[in-house]
């Protein structure tokens, strides 16, 4: 599906993540900034990828600012951001 506009979901509180998504330049770019990057960096990227592919998103910039969110939280924030970004005004 096509990202129509920039959108964000989540917060910068501990245990949460803020995920921002916007239309890309023809491919998927994910940038992860996490307080637990050393321990969970790869798992975070994998979780975000999973949600993006569920919604068949292949062209977007995604920025994950993670404050130690567990996987179910990350995926929820990602899904919310996608749904918001897919909505036409």
């Amino acid at each position: 599906m096509e990202i129509k506009k920039a959108a964000a979901a989540g917060t910068m509180e501990s245990n949460d993540a803020m995920i921002m998504i916007e239309p890309g330049d023809g491919e998927l770019e994910i940038f992860v900034d996490s307080v637990v990057a050393r321990q969970f960096g790869k798992q975070i990227e994998r979780a975000v990828m999973e949600v993006l592919s569920q919604y068949e998103i292949e062209d977007a910039h995604v920025l994950v600012r993670d404050k130690g969110a567990v996987e179910c939280t990350l995926k929820a924030r990602c899904e919310t951001a996608i749904l918001r970004a897919l909505k036409e005004d």
């Binding site: 245990n15 637990v36 050393r38 321990q39 969970f40 798992q43 130690g68």
Partner: protein, 467 residues
């Protein structure tokens, strides 16, 4: 004789400060301390190099030491605790010689046995007379007990008392006595009162912390150690202090008359003394104004030296009489080894303090910690640093359950019989990882940033630099 020196620099010259010396400091002024920074600045001005700082603790306020390390003024640090700001620089490899960590009990033992030789001890004193009798209970920078300074004053080749509140001779009580003091310097301010002690120490409001504390109190209740004569130590932070909130009604209900409270003392322990839950407080460090006031006025509130508090090398120390101690952890491994030196990324941000001493001395040592902080599980296969060996740790209390050291089978049975949620530590680990996922192992550098000396003098672990 006249011991007064007109300035800090003059006192340092009189003491014969030279390249390569070991100079010592206590940490009773905690994050409000000015004295270590003043001394190092002065030494830098005098062109002194290659100093070893022997400090009972290094706090964030001591960040200027990083610059002195860069400039070669300081080339060694030995301490019992290091705050995160200096710790980060050390973990990044700023110091060639590894930091030597000790415990609050191990340090005075090393000094008294001569394993550590101090050339000049700088004793920050909230109140002193011109002959060097000093205490921590009077003056604008009052901090209470001066317990961590005693061995330094006694065993250093030269002892300089630094005060901002000069009293008439003879000052009493004298935590530090004139017999051990060579020089006295009066400065404008030895510290920032706001950073020395807090007004009141508040119990955590975090519901998970409270849940852990409540469970820990029930562990004590059913451990078999809660009887007349009960003695107790707990820290000032997080869930630790909150344990007293839940222990009080249990002691009341069971009509237990405690004997003493030990350690760093908070207003909460002072209340328990006043209300008769304990007969004495033995105080090596005051955490708040209420504790300072109580030490000053209540004869049952006793100042103890670090050596008497926790040394393994004396005939007996307070920790050897301790029934229960509540301690924290940044990590605990499945063998119950506890890390309080580094964070989960390997950066130094703490130290033993009295952790390993009280764990070894107390009949019941309880670690209180949440199962995970943010996404990081507390229980790991292998602690990044063994600060306190697992064979001295008895119980881990988390918000979802308790684990008992397998070596303490009788204790485990008592707690299980009391219907407390007892699990195998591996089960608790799985419970956490089910929620957080399993963290990847982190990669550390080859270089050694610090060595951890256990209270018996052996090296228990080495802390690597962070890549």
């Amino acid at each position: 004789m006249n011991k007064r020196a007109e300035s800090l620099g003059a006192a340092m010259k009189k003491a014969g400060i030279q390249n390569g010396m070991t100079i010592s400091f206590h940490h009773h002024l905690r994050n409000g301390d000015y004295v270590m920074n003043m001394v190092l600045d002065e030494a830098a001005k005098m062109g002194i190099k290659d100093l070893t700082v022997q400090a009972s603790s290094v706090f964030d306020v001591h960040q200027p030491i990083i610059e002195h390390i860069r400039n070669g003024v300081v080339t060694g640090i030995e301490t019992n605790y290091m705050g995160a700001k200096v710790g980060k620089a050390i973990s990044e490899g700023i110091l060639d010689r590894p930091v030597r960590f000790r415990s609050h009990g191990g340090r005075p033992d090393a000094i008294e046995k001569g394993r550590v030789k101090i050339d000049i001890a700088f004793v920050a004193a909230p109140c002193a007379d011109a002959s060097g009798n000093a205490n921590g209970i009077y003056g604008p920078s009052a901090c209470g007990s001066l317990g961590y300074a005693c061995a330094d004053a006694k065993y250093a080749k030269t002892t300089i008392v630094v005060t901002d509140y000069l009293a008439e001779y003879p000052l009493s009580p004298a935590s530090i006595e004139e017999t051990d003091v060579d020089y006295v310097v009066v400065v404008d301010k030895i510290g920032d009162a706001a950073g020395i002690v807090s007004g009141t120490t508040q119990i955590t409001r975090d519901p998970v912390g409270l849940k852990i504390a409540e469970t820990a109190a029930r562990v004590i209740e059913h451990s078999g150690y809660l009887a007349d004569g009960f003695s107790f130590q707990t820290g000032a932070g997080g869930a630790s202090l909150a344990v007293t909130k839940y222990l009080k009604p249990i002691m009341k209900r069971k009509n237990v008359s405690g004997s003493f409270g030990l350690g760093g003392i908070t207003g909460y322990m002072v209340d328990m003394l006043r209300e008769g839950y304990f007969k004495k407080l033995m105080d090596v460090q005051c955490f708040d104004l209420k504790a300072v006031e109580s030490l000053k006025t209540n004869p049952d509130h006793i100042e103890v030296s670090a050596s008497r508090y926790a040394s393994p090398g004396v005939i007996s120390a307070c920790v050897d009489h301790l029934d229960a101690v509540i301690l924290g952890a940044t990590q605990i491994d499945t063998d119950f080894n506890v890390n309080v030196h580094t964070d989960s990324n390997g950066y130094i941000m703490g130290g033993s303090g009295g952790h390993s001493d009280t764990a070894a001395g107390a009949k019941l040592s309880i670690i209180v910690a949440p199962l995970f902080r943010a996404r990081l599980p507390i229980i790991v296969d292998r602690a990044l640093c063994v600060s306190t060996p697992g064979n001295t740790v008895d119980v881990l209390v988390t918000q979802r359950g308790i684990a008992v050291n397998p070596a303490r089978e009788a204790l485990r049975k008592r707690l299980t019989d009391a219907c407390l949620p007892v699990y195998d530590i591996g089960e608790l680990k799985e419970m956490a990882e089910k929620i957080t996922g399993k963290p990847d192992d982190i990669e550390l550098g080859e270089r050694i940033a610090a060595e951890v000396e256990y209270r018996d003098g052996s090296i228990i672990d080495k802390i690597r630099c962070v890549k």
